[in-house]
Symmetry: C2
Subunit: 202 residues, 2 copies
DNA sequence: GAGGTAATCAACACCGTGTTGATTTTCTAG
DNA sequence: CTAGAAAATCAACACGGTGTTGATTACCTC
C-alpha cells in the first residue's frame, strides 16, 4: 500500500530519468523531445504521459527530488551546528554528507547544472545555499557597511556553486572533505590568501 | 556599401532582438517560438527566416554581439594595465567602462543571464572573465598550493558573475565605479573582511 | 523616378505533442 | 499458483509550430 510500490513504474521512471539526464547533457534540455527520450529509453511514448504531464513536469519532479535531499541534509547540519560544534574541529559536520550526496546524484546534477542544463535549477540551488549562509551570519554584526549585504550573499553563494560545478564537471576528483575545506578556507581567509597567492593581511 | 545598411533590415532585426529579450524573460528561452516572436514583434514569420536560420541562430548572434563588446573592453583594459597604471589610483581603468557596457545592454543580458535564460551564455561569460583573471595572475607565484588553481579561478569567476547578476536583476542600483570596488575588495581582502563581518586577519 | 531588395502573404509537407481506446504484458495479493 | 488489477504497448487522431517556396507588394538607395 506504499505510494508507488509496483516494480514496473519504478523501473520505467528510473529509465526515463536516467535517459533524461543523458540526453540533457548530449543535446541540451530544450532540444530534448519526449519522442527522443522514450525511444532512447526504449519505452512507449504513451507510457511517458502515464507518469508525467510533459517534459517540464519531469524536470520539476527530478529537480525537486534532489533539492529535497539537500534540504534534508541542511536540516541535520543546523541541528548539529547549534549544539555540539564550536568551530575548528573538523572541516564541517554534515558538509561532507552534502558533497557525498551530490556525488551520488552526479549524473543528473551535472546535466542540469551544465551549460546545456536548466538555469532555473541553479537559481534554486542558490536559494538553498543562501539560506544556509544567512543562518550562519544570523546574530553577527557588521562593523562597517561598505555595500548592501545582498552582495556579500550573492558573492558567497555564487562562488560556492561555481566551485561545486567545477568539481562535478571535472570528474569529482577531491574528496568531500577536501571540498568542504577548499570552500570554507576561501570564504574565511579570502580566495587569494587561501590559495597561497597573497600573504595573510599584507 | 556597408554590410547591412538598409534601414529596413536594421529596423526588423532590432525589433526581433528586442522582442526576443522580452519573451525570454516572460516565458523562458525554450518556450519562445518563432511564431510568438514574430507575432509580438509584428513581423511576418517568413521575414524572420530571411535573417536567421532558427531560434538558436538568433540566440547565438545576439550573444556573440554582447561578448564581442566585452572582449573589446577587456582588450583596452589590458593595454592600459600594462603601461600607466600601478594599483590604488582609482578602482580600475576600464572596469567602469565594462559595467557601463553591461548597463547599456541590460535588457538582453538580464534575460539570458536570468533563471529562464541560457546557461550556455553564463558559461561563455565565465570563460571571458576567467581569461581576464588569469592575465592578472600571470607571473605571480603561489607560496603554498592547498588545492588546484582551477578552484581559485572557478571561485573568483563565479563570484564575479554572481555579483553582476545580482546587480542587473536588482535594477542596476550602484554605479559602475561602486560595482568595481565591491567586487575587487571582496576578492582582495576576502568577502568577510570586505563586508565588515570580520576584522582584518583576526 | 527606376531598379533592386526587403517585407508580406498564402500554401505546403513535416514533425513532435498530448490524448484516446483497445489490447497485451506484468505484477501483487490472496 | 492463480485471478484480478494495474501498467505498458500500439495505432490513430487533431493540433500547433517549423522551415521553405513562389508570387506580390512596399520601401529604400542611388
Amino acid at each position: 500500500m506504499g505510494d508507488t510500490e509496483d516494480r514496473r513504474v519504478l523501473r520505467t521512471k528510473k529509465r526515463i530519468r536516467d535517459t533524461f539526464a543523458e540526453l540533457i547533457e548530449e543535446k541540451g534540455l530544450d532540444r530534448v523531445t519526449v519522442k527522443d527520450l522514450t525511444e532512447q529509453a526504449d519505452i512507449n511514448r504513451g507510457t511517458f504521459y502515464l507518469h508525467f504531464h510533459d517534459k517540464y513536469d519531469l524536470l520539476e519532479q527530478s529537480e525537486a527530488e534532489i533539492l529535497n535531499g539537500i534540504k534534508q541534509i541542511a536540516k541535520e547540519l543546523d541541528d548539529v551546528d547549534m549544539n555540539n560544534w564550536k568551530k575548528e574541529n573538523g572541516p564541517h559536520p554534515a558538509a561532507e554528507k552534502y558533497f557525498t550526496y551530490l556525488k551520488e546524484h552526479a549524473l543528473f546534477v551535472r546535466a542540469v547544472l551544465g551549460p546545456k542544463g536548466d538555469p532555473g535549477f541553479q537559481r534554486k540551488m542558490k536559494t538553498l545555499i543562501a539560506d544556509g549562509i544567512k543562518k550562519k551570519f544570523a546574530g553577527k554584526e557588521r562593523k562597517s557597511q561598505p555595500f548592501p549585504a545582498d552582495y556579500l550573499i550573492a558573492y558567497l553563494v555564487s562562488a560556492h556553486l561555481g566551485v561545486v560545478q567545477h568539481w562535478i564537471e571535472n570528474g569529482l576528483q577531491e574528496s568531500p572533505e577536501e571540498m568542504a575545506k577548499i570552500i570554507s578556507s576561501m570564504n574565511y581567509d579570502g580566495p587569494l590568501v587561501a590559495s597561497g597567492l597573497k600573504k595573510d593581511s599584507s
